[in-house]
Symmetry: C2
Subunit: 279 residues, 2 copies
Amino acid sequence: MKFFELLQVDSKVLMIFIPFVLCGCTKEEEVSTTTTDPLANLEWIDLSYAFDSTTLYWPNNPDGFQHRVDAEGVTDLGYYYSSYTILTPEHGGTHLDAPIHFYENGETVDELPLSKLTGKAVVIDVSEKALADRDYLIDSVAVLAWEQEHGKIPAQTMVLFRTGYGKFYPDRKGYFGTAKTGTEAIPELHFPGIQPETALWLAKSRNVKAVGLDTPSLDYGQSKDFAAHQALMENQIPGFENVANLDQLPATGIYVLALPMKIKGGSGGPLRIIATVLE
Amino acid sequence: MKFFELLQVDSKVLMIFIPFVLCGCTKEEEVSTTTTDPLANLEWIDLSYAFDSTTLYWPNNPDGFQHRVDAEGVTDLGYYYSSYTILTPEHGGTHLDAPIHFYENGETVDELPLSKLTGKAVVIDVSEKALADRDYLIDSVAVLAWEQEHGKIPAQTMVLFRTGYGKFYPDRKGYFGTAKTGTEAIPELHFPGIQPETALWLAKSRNVKAVGLDTPSLDYGQSKDFAAHQALMENQIPGFENVANLDQLPATGIYVLALPMKIKGGSGGPLRIIATVLE
């Protein structure tokens, strides 16, 4: 098994450098003719909820997710055929916030380069405090405590906060703090989010690539001005909301692919986000 | 640069096996304390078209892609905010066909495991014949000719056919063979596709994981019964249609991630498909 893994290493690199580094040899030796393939045996974890009638949208959203049947059954020619049309607000379920969602000069979802949507990630578990206080704000103290244990967050890392609220999804009352819908529900939203100053600090002092979490919003439920969104998006940093299964990831050694539907001019959109554990 | 690449190799593997393989050493030496990360410097190529008013759907589709403005501008509180709602048939633009699209017992798009949506891929270029004949059917002769040059397609490979028709997208006449829309356009569709017998042979004799191409359909424009779809989907093999940028990929040594929007019970859906070149 380990020998097989070895064969996946770039053979040119092995050929030229390994002998020198490890043994001081200078002769170039060919190790393997097997195709380079560091990815062959990766196992991916899905961090995305499916879209259906239970998908959670902001309480005052009138539409929700709609799945219209266009065809479903055996055709006149004798074969089965099914096809549907979907309608969804960009922001609901597991989705991406593009910078233009809160910043006029921000990138739209289709403009985000793949380099901003792929890369190393860390998971910062704040669930103990977040589950104890529905209005908890993730602050730099929590991030610095994490760094004490795991080291400074490297530049261009995706930061995923685990509040533990994913366990409530898709129960509206547990997840949002109120089962009400409509505009009158907004003042009753209680779920944790990122302190705006900390969002700015993550952008400026940690140069993060993206920020995601297992709540409906980067900002906490009681936010009026969505200042954490503003701080991130003015720095062209996308957000991932309603991220699933964060309890399945370790704190470090994660590679994430966050691929939103490529909506021209979109302020965000349905996101398929997956991860693999590297170590 | 090459030394830097070396540092990304799994240090445990290097430590234990490289000395033995290359130099006959038995002593375990530590090469690097750098985190394992075979993925760090991967460059991803986007094989997805953006969704907008020019997105191509089947000629008789009445809806097309709709992007409704819900909010766009400076709010009363002084910050910018934009948000939209989308409507799209599942099958249009760059999208996935789930097996249930043509097979009643087939997997729905949300049921497809990530192992079926990620993995090694090959590109079979049939553009010379396809561009010369709008009704060209990709047959096993074409696949076997490719295998003569590149070797037998390994089991569980994703096969991407490059017909060259991507160069017409989103020009309806060039891509579909007719600029007409509505039911009356259907008999006038002329674009290449996969011969049904070859689709079945790919499923049974090559055990392919998925099949994609740069046309509107796995079946050619003149198909009445979509028999290539049926052959693949009865074998639980998903399809990718309207795949972009296949001219940017080599024939082999490709890793593909094909992440559709996770629509519960969906017969397919918008697909973000990306690739990296391994060798």
